[in-house]
């Protein structure tokens, strides 16, 4: 026993001394390595290049590598269909219709549609040559499959369930034990889909772009099998690509769907989507060539790459605004709210935050397309208000606080990220300088922030909204008196009425007018919300990547992209 331990130790020590020898050699070379480094580096780079060439796939297979930030949620359109799903759906799933960059309808799974004169019944005719990646036909039942699962009361992950309540019977099915048979989303035959709505919905086509309206293979994608979306055999695609491999938290790989009706237009063989959390890691992996597309980069990248064709700006449908608590004095006074809105120099604030923040006085996202023209909704009419410090000072004096005198110190709550902190400091400085108002900053963790916002325990709070679908109503209907997302309890009958009118208007021009009027009531007249900025995503793309298109939300689409050799 003693003997063997001794021998073992001798062996370990011997190994250690061998390494000692190795390091000695390494140390000896240290000096010369610096001198010869340029040659060595060149050789290694060559090796690196070779390696990159082979990792790109064998025999000329074209693989695009895209980085995405979030691995949260799932790929189930009836489940937690957030960022990860959005990226996946753009590659693998064809919805009924989609919209292009200018807001025109692109028919995907549907070939045509019609709606009844009262705007209540919508009928979609499906493309008969559409196939799932296992070769089976895409039928109306596949669309119903997602809808029914999203409305199933036993589906705890259905985040968009309540956005379907415009369909007759949907609310009853989800909340009051109603039967799925009474949900008026029906497959009339394999290729005809009909929706009956409770009331007219001028934006129904736009609504079709939210997750629960995407198909999932009936009988395969079920609530019982919670893992269906991770398995290539059950996670079928009806789009240009289909899932090949899903490695949780790491990446997923999609390959060309051979049964896609327009497969001849698909140039890439596969796309690998990598999950990268760290901003520096994103940029580095792009620079090493390991990733072809990176999104959501730090703002300094925009300056660094400003003359490069690698830079891609993704105009997000986001609005960042201040929500005043209407029950707190003196914020219940519209003159005070207007003074705050007018006193901010938004360009100055954004300049301090970075190139990805863009000043905006519009509550509806700056880059939201209008339904009635080829302009942005925010640019169609005169601005809702114009920054004006003198006017702001007058308003504050009228409200009883000349020069900010006697104005209580208010608290501004925001999620504690770097950008939001800079935004908060900008707002604080401007209000102090222009109005003599002191703002107390309260930076809290994201989750605390959400809790305070929904419970109404704030005075001023930063709010941010990114559109679910490209229609101004997605912003405006948040502040109806009955909306669940109305966090500062706006209760304005005039506003409610305008929103209802816009919903039942069948003429796009008429509807658009109501939306603008509502926008003016919400912001320009009452300042229930105080818009500050919008945001863009800064992206870099491999210059040999061609054919990238943009959808109505400003997002890059790689469906028909190509990688030059």
């Amino acid at each position: 026993m003693r003997k063997t331990t001794k021998t073992k130790w001798a062996a370990v020590a011997l190994a250690a001394s061998m390494v000692l020898g190795l390091t000695a050699c390494g140390g000896g070379n240290g000096g010369s390595a610096a001198e010869g480094s340029s040659g060595e580096a060149a050789a290694s780079q060559q090796a690196g290049g070779d390696q990159a060439g082979t990792s790109g796939g064998s025999e000329g297979a074209k693989e695009l590598v895209v980085a995405t930030v979030s691995a949260a949620g799932s790929l189930d359109p009836a489940g937690i269909a957030i960022d990860m799903w959005t990226e996946y759906a753009k590659l693998c799933i064809d919805p009924l219709i989609r919209f292009d960059e200018s807001g025109n309808v692109v028919y995907e799974a549907a070939e045509s549609y019609e709606s009844s004169d009262d705007g209540l019944v919508w009928t979609f005719h499906l493309r008969q040559d559409a196939k799932w990646s296992d070769g089976s036909s895409v039928v109306a039942a596949d669309f119903i499959n997602t809808l029914h699962r999203a409305l199933d009361p036993n589906n705890g992950d259905s985040i968009y369930g309540d956005m379907l309540y415009g369909i007759v019977g949907a609310r009853e099915a989800r909340e009051n034990g109603g039967s799925m048979d009474d949900v008026m989303a029906k497959a009339l035959d394999d290729y005809t889909l009909e929706f009956t709505l409770t009331e007219p919905c001028g934006y129904f086509l736009k609504l079709l772009t939210i997750a629960p309206f995407y198909p999932s293979k009936s009988g395969v994608a079920t609530l019982e099998n919670t893992n269906w979306y991770k398995d290539a055999a059950t996670s079928l695609g009806n789009g240009p690509f289909c899932l090949k491999e899903f490695v949780d938290g790491q990446y997923y790989l999609v390959e060309k769907n051979p049964y896609y009706f327009a497969a001849d237009q698909v140039k890439l063989d596969s796309i690998r989507v990598e999950f990268i959390d760290d901003a520096q890691a994103l940029l580095s992996s792009y620079r090493t060539g390991e990733v072809d597309v990176v999104t959501g980069l730090p703002s300094y990248v925009k300056e660094q790459y400003k003359d490069s064709d690698e830079l891609f700006i993704w105009n997000m449908l986001t609005s960042k605004f201040i929500l005043p608590n209407l029950e707190v004095k003196p914020l219940d006074d519209v003159r005070v709210r207007e003074a705050i809105a007018l006193a901010l120099n938004r360009s100055e604030i954004c300049a301090a935050i970075g190139d990805d923040y863009i000043a905006s006085t519009s509550y509806v996202a700056e880059y939201m397309l209008s339904n009635n023209s080829d302009q942005y909704f925010s640019k169609e009419e005169d601005p809702l208000f114009v920054e004006d410090v003198t006017r702001a000072q007058e308003l504050l004096a009228e409200a009883g606080f000349p020069g900010g005198e006697g104005f209580p110190e208010l608290t501004y709550t925001y999620p504690n990220s770097e950008k939001d902190a800079l935004l908060a400091q900008g707002i604080q400085a401007q209000l102090k300088q222009n109005l003599g108002i002191n703002l107390k900053l309260n930076g809290v963790e994201t989750q605390v922030y959400s809790t305070e916002r929904s419970e109404g325990t704030y005075e001023l709070i930063r709010h941010s909204w990114t559109a679910d679908y490209n229609d101004p109503i997605n912003f405006l209907n948040l502040y109806t008196s009955y909306s669940g997302g109305n966090f500062n309890h706006v209760n304005d009958p005039e506003y409610d009425e305008l929103i209802e009118k816009s919903n039942s208007a069948t003429d796009p021009a008429e509807r658009n007018t109501y939306l603008h009027q509502a926008d003016r009531v919400l912001v320009g007249e009452n300042f229930y919300v105080i818009p500050v900025t919008t945001q863009v995503y800064i992206c870099l793309m491999n210059p040999s990547l061609t054919g990238v298109t943009v959808n109505e939300k400003g997002e890059p689409m790689y469906r028909f992209a190509d990688l030059a050799e």
Partner: protein, 305 residues
């Protein structure tokens, strides 16, 4: 011996129980919920909360969690639909543990070698440079080191890839990042204990007997000089095997450290709990193992009574 091990395991289980209880209530005391998803309406959020049983009394949830834990069931993730925490750990652990094991191996070998070299060399230059390196190693924070290595050897020189762990080349930069601190620590320990052991009577005696130098250093000195290294190895291995958030995040390694921090900020309670328990078990086992190895190497060390 057996009695000692049984006692240590008992203490370990008690520690785990306390760990589970404290973590359970602390995570629930954090404001916020796992279902704070952008654009989710409060009504729908409540529906999700009740679906996952988070609206029931905390004590009831606690008792149920303990019951499940007793059967080895860590529950399901709230953020990753349909993923059980058991599966999640099984998929995350290999990357972290492989990286940790390699880093420990590298650290042990290089640290020991450098320590001995420092102890035996008579050249001040060598001694000085190793000392400088080890001071650097213990004082530079690993996120600085990780970024530095990534930018220099990944981005500018393009020698090594920086994303994930798919090939052996991918291991180089993360392993260096993780090893520098342990190497510095081990080399300092070895240097001190090795120098001390060199002047011990039995070494002088061995020399006097005319034994070969290498035999003396391997058999007589090193064996005794390694005891402090083994003692610190327990926590060190545990530290390396449970993964570093910084290293895993910067090099995009799908491991325990990265997921743990994500889970905490996402309020994914079950994942936080599961990973805490898993890491707790690892740490307890590693410490116990290190103590046992010490006794095997040096029988003079008595088991604590």
């Amino acid at each position: 011996m057996v009695k000692y091990i049984v006692k240590r395991i008992g203490i370990g289980l008690l520690t785990l129980f306390v760990l589970v209880t404290v973590t359970f209530f602390l995570t629930r005391m954090m404001p916020g919920s796992p279902f704070d998803i952008a654009n989710l309406t409060p009504a729908n959020q409540e529906k999700m909360i009740s679906f996952y049983g988070l609206d029931r009394p905390l004590t009831e949830q606690y008792v149920q969690y303990l019951g499940n834990l007793f059967h080895g069931d860590f529950g399901v993730s709230f953020k990753k639909a349909g993923v059980t925490v058991n599966d999640l750990i099984a998929s995350l652990a290999p990357a972290t543990m492989k990286l940790g094991a390699i880093s420990y191996g590298v650290s042990l070998i290089l640290g020991t070698a450098l320590g001995i070299w420092m102890a035996v060399t008579r050249q001040d230059l060598v001694k000085g440079s190793i000392l400088t390196f080890s001071t650097f190693g213990v004082s530079v924070p690993n996120f600085v080191l990780a970024l530095l290595l990534m930018l220099v050897f990944g981005v500018y020189l393009n020698w090594f890839p920086v994303l994930g762990l798919s090939t052996p080349r991918h291991y180089v930069l993360p392993v260096i990042t993780q090893s520098v601190y342990p190497i510095a620590q081990i080399s300092r320990l070895v240097k001190t204990s090795y120098t001390e052991a060199m002047s011990q009577d039995y070494v002088v005696m061995a020399r006097a007997k005319g034994l070969k130098g290498s035999r003396i250093s391997l058999l007589h000195i090193l064996k005794n000089a390694m005891i402090p290294v083994i003692t610190t190895s327990g926590p060190m291995i545990a530290f390396l095997l449970t993964g570093s958030f910084v290293v895993e995040n910067i090099f995009t390694i799908p491991g325990i450290g990265r997921e743990f921090v994500n889970a905490v900020s996402n309020r994914d309670y079950t994942v936080v709990m599961g990973l805490t328990v898993f890491m707790g078990i690892l740490i307890i086992v590693c410490n116990l193992a290190a103590d046992l190895v010490c006794v095997l190497v040096d029988p003079r060390i008595k088991m604590a009574e």
